[in-house]
Subunit: 497 residues, 2 copies
């Protein structure tokens, strides 16, 4: 599919991240950006396999935690927003009474949301009576049906999810996986009897995120977003940000605790054990193809991608060496491939008639974690030659190939984890005083407990954005970097994508 | 999820198919039709699992035949249709010269197509410069990129596929899975060096269809569609129709041989071994959620669904009997479930505190192929009691449960196949004379080799639609039922969905 001529194009050094990233996603055959709509890439087979492997991790976690998969329509009639508007009105009233600052920005958000959707107002030759929009996310669609599904406390908790295409009319610069207009999206939605049960769900979500981040070996920061960055209608939002190589953070997942705010607007109620009607408490949890963007950005190097073994489309590429002179080598490669496939590994035999150097080059670009070379000399010794994409080569025994390869992949995972931890510790610093020089590409840990205008001052002075409260608990009180008051709260400050 | 109260609603008898079908898809929790857009149902977990199991069969076949999975954007800019318009113009010219009648209706089709799509002309608060439409199918999107992917004969054959949501602004009455406005769709697209290689692809497609139909145990007729029912821009179309219980046929799959007509319009060329530039020959192959509609319609009965084992979301429901008095029974149920899961079966333990009759009733509705009852008496004898959804009950040995269950499911498949064959032989008759009385719910096999007006006469007289030429070869010549001329061609005539 025309990949090889592209592969011969040079890859910019990764230190020039803003050139490297958009180049490598195409050179490695993940996507084709030549589709004639900005921000809508074509997923090529290699990229789609990687994404589906990430989805598989998600499906497994969802099954483990008793979420059920559904699939809702893409189109949402505009009039369903009436209920959201009711919610807006309620929140507005609350604001006027000075009740809850977390709800301050909601009406603006709904207006903003309308500016970000694609509209379907025509079908065939007709103008539609009620315009529809392409889902940017599915709260409105789903919560229209929840009241029909939930009657009694025995129907709770309701835990569903879907993996679908969502849409955002993005006006900022688009970037493959990171900022796109058609988004490959995961969303879990749950309903519970009370606030505590919903809080437990948020904890479960964070456990799931933890497992997936561990499989992907990504360096992440978890923050409780500040009030003004809380998802519309949410009580609070916890966001998971990956530290990208340029020090900017990329939000790859978020969990929202809604309390009963949406339930109130959408009449999502249940009868408790005593027959009393109560509002449900709800949560959502979202992730997207940004996970793949983070994997590309975090692990790649000057030579191409490096896939974590758990999601690599090809985990092991097998190269018969000097096969034209030694047909026995090709047979051995096939046997090895078969053994590994049977053990559940994803393998590929590269028997193209090319110089080994050219083959290495191709598979380095594609980020295959392990390369196995099988040549006549190695075979005599009963070994194959294993080269890790993360560096290091050694012979491994052919007669114990499955456990040897298992071990190699574990070592590669360990190496990626070390690098990820290294990235974390190199990228995060404490900011003690507002007068300190801000370093490029650094995420700051700041004692802060000020009000909105203090926050604005902090952001303006540093030129960074407040990611939110660290979810870790700190024992020592420090003085707030702006207001000076003693606090145990620490905030993350960074440049965000 | 509110399923049980619905399950208590009565199911219409299957003999009243037009009431039974729309009722059972909701009663069995496949979909929820209460989403506020006509023809856009919500897939509930049980229905979505069944659909994904069908998709798994498709993925396996695609992998076996070296198709690669891609994912194209949903939105297609209107100006890409210019190339299709060029194709239209060419075909019009051909028609004026009287060259190929198979191309007669293409311009009308393109006009028709524009009447059937959803348009996106607005995003946020902007009117778009170039309107876009939601894909009804992806020829236009894909063939825009094919010229970038295909350079040389070594890039061929190119075989790709995707499983995505497609859209059709359906003005006829909608029916779950059968006629919907958001369609869960499979489409394979291939490009080849020449006509023969494309023809081989069509044969491979028919082999794939055969395998899938065999797994689903559906009664199918394969026809080469008449000229006026050929897909726009195709040389010929082969369609796979399922015989539904009311005798109407439902097109569930189709394969199109394009020759080089689209390649000409989209400049899809390659350099052959001698460096000569040539047009590609192309094919497509499509299937959709109609496969699930056909499964529901074909196999269900007065008591509910019957899922073919290969795609049943739950293959075996295990019921501990009198478990509250005998905890050992629950343990045994768990052990059996675990053994079966490890062997790759999809199982579910129903330990609800309900009368067995109520439980039977629920699982019959959901079409679970096999029910295993494990009670204290059976356990004493070392057996479980196996009840097939297709009828018949017998004890099976607990200590050899995996092979016993394997055998039960094979027997159920055999029974479904017998029923399917029975359906076929009961539904198809030969029509010898145009004066014969047409029976309701019958598909006719007709010797026919007339021109367009003969065809019109045949359809008008019988009140049926010509499905097309049988793809079987007949040795005996018969006289065409309209024109009287001797012919080996036989056509299928039916009422179509």
């Amino acid at each position: 599919m025309g990949g090889h001529d592209k592969a011969k194009r040079g890859i910019p050094p990764k230190s020039e991240f803003s050139s490297w990233y958009p180049a490598i996603v195409e050179i490695a055959d993940l996507v084709d950006k030549r589709y004639p709509i900005k921000g809508m890439d074509v997923w090529r087979p290699y990229g789609w396999k990687a994404m589906k492997n990430i989805d598989s991790l998600t499906h497994s976690e969802m099954t483990r935690t008793n979420h059920e998969e559904v699939n809702f329509p893409l189109l949402i009639p505009e009039d369903l927003l009436d209920k959201e508007n009711k919610l807006v009105a309620k929140l507005k009233a609350a604001r006027e009474l000075g009740i809850d600052p977390s709800e301050m920005r909601y009406d603006e958000e709904v207006e903003g949301f309308k500016k970000e959707v694609y509209w379907v107002k025509h079908a065939g030759e007709n103008e539609l009576d009620i315009p529809m929009f392409l889902r940017p996310t599915s709260e409105t669609a789903m919560y229209t049906l929840f009241p029909l599904w939930i009657r009694s406390h025995t129907d709770l908790p309701l835990k569903i999810y879907q993996i679908v295409n969502t849409f955002r009319y993005e006006t900022k610069q688009t970037r493959s996986f990171i900022r796109v207009r058609e988004i490959h999206f995961f969303e879990a939605h749950t309903a519970h009897t009370d606030e505590d049960s919903a809080t437990e769900q948020i904890n479960e979500d964070l456990e799931i995120v933890g497992n997936i981040m561990s499989d992907l070996k990504l360096p992440v920061i978890i923050s409780k977003r500040p009030v003004w960055d809380t998802f519309p209608g949410a009580w609070y939002t916890i966001a998971i940000d990956v530290i990208m190589p340029n020090g900017r953070t990329l939000q790859v997942a978020s969990c929202h605790h809604y309390r009963d705010q949406w339930a109130e607007a959408f009449d999502i109620t249940y009868e408790d054990g005593d027959g009393v009607k109560r509002n449900c408490h709800q949560t959502t949890y979202g992730m997207s193809e940004r996970l793949l963007g983070a994997v590309v950005g975090t692990h790649g190097d000057d030579h191409g991608l490096i896939f974590p073994p758990k999601i690599a489309p090809i985990q092991i590429v097998i190269m018969p060496v000097a096969a034209h002179k030694n047909p026995i080598v090709t047979d051995a490669a096939k046997q090895v491939s078969e053994k590994l496939s049977q053990a559940g590994f994803r393998t590929y035999i590269d028997d193209r008639d090319l110089r080994p150097g050219q083959k290495y080059y191709d598979w380095e670009i594609k980020g295959v974690p392990l390369r196995l070379e099988i040549g006549p000399r190695d075979m005599d010794k009963g070994t194959a030659f294993a080269a890790r994409r993360t560096g290091g080569k050694a012979p491994i025994p052919l007669d114990d190939i499955v456990s040897a390869v298992t071990n190699e992949l574990i070592e590669i995972e360990k190496e990626l984890e070390i690098r990820s931890n290294h990235m974390m510790s190199n990228s995060i610093k404490s900011l003690e005083s507002i007068d300190e020089q801000i370093e490029d590409g650094i995420i700051y840990h700041v004692p802060f407990d000020g009000n909105d205008s203090d926050a604005e001052l902090l952001e303006k002075t540093t030129g960074l954005t407040i990611l939110g409260d660290s979810i870790e608990t700190y024992e020592t009180e420090m003085s707030c970097i702006i207001s000076g008051k003693m606090t145990k709260r620490k905030q993350h400050l960074a440049r965000m994508y």
